[in-house]
């Protein structure tokens, strides 16, 4: 039974192909999806998504979003999806530092949403850096 993986961001469709399995960074921890998984909708945390196709495992850094899993399909909705070669290490680091600095200056008790947003940026940058710096 095939498993179809689709990754889309607001800007474009990143990936659409048949894969053997998928590992997702779920909000409550990593999940492995094999074909014929029961139907599931899960929130995703920024992190690393891995899929295996023809015996080759590929990792993609993704932002927060959602995964919709049905028996033969995995749909990923996210605001960021970057492969290893697309990640700009310096840029990610700069973004993270900027967000961290802003996080220090704003009042946490007033603007909870802004805090959450900045934390999301940090988490996203972390996910990118982690993927990039992992020994191959």
């Amino acid at each position: 039974m095939p498993l179809h993986l689709e990754i889309v961001t607001p800007e474009k469709k990143i990936f659409s192909d048949i894969v053997t399995n998928v590992y997702l960074p779920g909000a409550d921890g990593e999940m492995g999806i094999l074909p014929a998984h029961s139907a599931l909708v899960s929130a995703l945390a920024p992190g690393e998504l891995r899929y295996e196709k023809d015996g080759v495992v590929t990792a993609i850094a993704i932002g927060s979003g959602f995964a919709e899993v049905t028996q033969e399909k995995v749909n990923i909705l996210t605001d960021m999806a970057l492969g290893d070669e697309q990640i700009d290490e310096a840029k990610a680091e700069a973004a993270m530092q900027r967000a961290e600095e802003q996080l220090k200056t704003i009042d946490h008790s007033i603007d909870a949403e802004e805090v959450a947003h900045l934390q999301a940026i940090i988490a996203k940058s972390m996910a990118q850096l982690k993927l990039k710096r992992r020994p191959h």
């Binding site: 909708v41 899960s42 909705l77």
Partner: protein
């Protein structure tokens, strides 16, 4: 009979005007292509988002989330998306007409785009905020707007939030449209939207198939809803901005093409007049010479 030099001067000035409008037409065409591509690119995402929402809807109580609750009051906040620059035909005027016919007495405004902001503030309407959006529209710029609107809905005492924008239908046709953003009505979720970007995706069969499935939710339906709804609102705002941009550029392209064509026609007429005047001058000169010759004989 107009002076030869005057006509020549006018031809020159019309020509340079035509050159400018032609350049603007080409620029607008290129930008329109980009904006259109952007609107199309967002469709996959919209499609998926809607499907997840449809699935979710059958799993939670509709009244359970504040963003889904309909309220009875008449206080309305309208986001008006107009253009920053003019020279785009009747686009802003038409939108303004629509805004006026759709607004109630208790409607306040938030604007994107300079043109209608100027008109609305001149009329003394209550304006809450104004946002500037770059071109092409970056996704990140929709966030502060949707955040502001959501906050006004939850805490600002507004009972309804709507968006007025020019819906891009074809290059020749843009329709001023008003949609309701908040509260998210249950019919609206997963339904076909009347505007193109978020439209034409969940077909009936898909919807039924989705509803038939028993989804489990991680971490919980409410938590998923909590993060999904802001995303949905964000995306709606983004999509209307993109649609409005596509409308603006296509309207400008059409207006500038008409201007260029008119200028060309005008040049033709003026050239004809110029030639006539020139011929008349030659004729009268010849006449003078022959008369002089006759007199010498």
């Amino acid at each position: 009979m107009a002076n030869l030099r005057d006509i020549r001067r006018r031809i020159k000035s019309v020509k340079s005007t035509a050159q400018i409008t032609r350049a603007m037409q080409l620029v607008a065409a290129a930008k329109m292509k980009k904006a259109q591509d952007q609107a199309v690119a967002g469709r996959d995402y919209a499609n998926q988002l809607n499907q997840v929402l449809v699935n979710l809807k059958s799993n939670v109580e509709e009244e359970s989330h504040p963003l889904l609750q309909a309220r009875s009051g008449g206080k309305e906040l309208m986001l008006v998306v107009s253009t920053d620059k003019g020279l785009c035909g009747a686009l802003n005027t038409n939108l303004f007409k629509k805004v006026r016919s759709e607004s109630g007495t208790e409607t306040h405004y938030v604007t994107v785009g300079r043109k209608l902001r100027a008109i609305l503030s001149k009329l003394g309407k209550e304006m809450l905020a104004d946002f500037e959006v770059k071109d092409p529209v970056p996704f990140a710029e929709a966030r502060p707007i949707s955040k502001f609107l959501t906050k006004q809905f939850l805490e600002g005492g507004y009972d309804k939030i709507s968006i007025a924008f020019n819906n891009f239908i074809t290059v020749m046709n843009q329709e001023p449209t008003v949609i309701q953003l908040l509260p998210i009505s249950s019919e609206q979720l997963g339904e076909k939207q009347e505007f193109e970007g978020v439209g034409n995706h969940v077909d009936e069969t898909d919807k039924n198939a989705a509803l038939g499935k028993d989804y489990s939710f991680e971490p919980s339906p409410m938590e998923v809803l909590d993060t999904l709804l802001p995303l949905y609102i964000n995306f709606q705002v983004y999509q209307t901005l993109v649609e409005a941009r596509a409308s603006e550029h296509s309207a400008r392209m059409v207006a500038m093409k008409a201007a260029t064509d008119n200028a060309k026609k005008f040049i033709k007429e003026l050239t004809l007049e110029y030639n006539k005047a020139r011929q008349a001058a030659i004729t009268s000169e010849l006449l003078e010479i022959t008369t002089a010759m006759k007199a010498m004989e």
